[in-house]
Symmetry: C2
Subunit: 219 residues, 2 copies
């Protein structure tokens, strides 16, 4: 039976919607009252694992799930050995460099050498500043990254920005964008090649729906 | 002014209680309605930063907070450059190896070579099995670690156990204990030596209360 790793959080609702278009009903995952981490589609065709977004590529990499849905940001940061099959186009947000509104920095290049940059995306942040030849110190935080500049611990942050509300509320301003992130369909490479549990057929159905929706949106 | 990094989650309530015994009132942090991450004690003597447990040692290491309260488990896993001042004795739990109840393994040493061990505590788990000369593969997960054995991805997990309810609900059983963890008072080493913001005096007050409570509990 096909197993799909689904991300908890912001991408879950649209992930369920996408799968419903190919006849898989995992809407029970939205029911907070039962905390099940594994559910079967009522038609018995597929199983979903509900895991943290960061863990989706782990389940797919180890072949425990043939397919998974996860943000591009997680793939860029973790560099898992998975096949990227499709851009599902939802869940758009950007990974950006931000500083205090009151700071003198107008671009990432203005940051002083040895500036401290707080981030959950340690690898992405380090790679970005290395490419700029700017030797900053990345301070790894696991949450509330905006507290870095507010407490004076860091001159800047690298964090996901969606509406920009959190930045604004904390007196921060976006300087540059590292990349734009959307939800991606990923697959276990070997399962995909061998079409285990018909995962390739399922992935192609999702791809078909995806292209169909895209052309419908074109003017 | 003294700054104390406080951990979100399970240790917060008792951390606030401990500080209240030395005259610092951070009870406003328990009020979920205002999501403030920094608050002042009403007497104006100290400031609290409310951050994720894993980030407490980061703020203390960088000197942004002179003191912090955090679980020993986080200190063992992250090995931050902070001074461990006192065992506050609350928030007790153990980091344990667990397997499926139906598995044939009766001790950690029974696990097959190249067994997969899912854990949020990647360093602790790797160190433990290395000391046993058992070459396991640690699978890094960020949440719901119990799903590892349930899906067949891992033979065992290394995770925090408090009441044991989560293990039981998932058909898992504890094999061995890596260590017992409690809340610790930590300090920024240089601030502590130099007694910046009188952090040493404050820490000694906490120590005094701690010993006082301990002797009161003795039979």
């Amino acid at each position: 039976m096909l197993t799909i790793a689904m991300p908890k959080g912001a991408l879950l609702k649209d992930s369920i919607k996408t799968l419903s278009l190919i006849g898989l009903d995992f809407s029970a995952l939205l029911d907070n009252s039962h905390r099940q981490l594994q559910i079967l589609d009522p038609s018995g065709q597929a199983r979903a694992l509900l895991v943290r977004a960061q863990d989706v590529p782990v389940y797919v990499e180890y072949g425990q799930a043939q397919l998974g849905i996860v943000g591009y940001d997680v793939l860029k940061e973790k560099q898992p050995q998975v096949a990227q099959i499709a851009d599902l186009k939802f869940g758009g947000c950007r990974l950006s460099v931000a500083v205090k509104q009151t700071s003198p920095y107008k671009s990432a290049r203005d940051l002083p050498p040895q500036a401290r940059v707080a981030s959950k995306f340690v690898k992405c942040a380090a790679d970005y500043f290395q490419a700029l030849d700017l030797p900053v110190e990345v301070v790894p935080l696991s949450g509330s990254v905006e507290l870095g500049p507010l407490t004076g611990m860091a001159e800047a942050i690298v964090d996901l920005v969606s509406t920009g509300r959190t930045l604004k509320e904390n007196g921060l301003i976006e300087l540059e964008q590292l990349f734009y992130s959307t939800a991606r369909l990923i697959a276990h490479p070997l399962s995909y090649r061998l079409d285990s549990e018909q995962c390739r057929a399922w992935a192609e159905e999702i791809l078909g729906i995806n292209e169909c929706m895209e052309s419908a949106l074109k003017p």
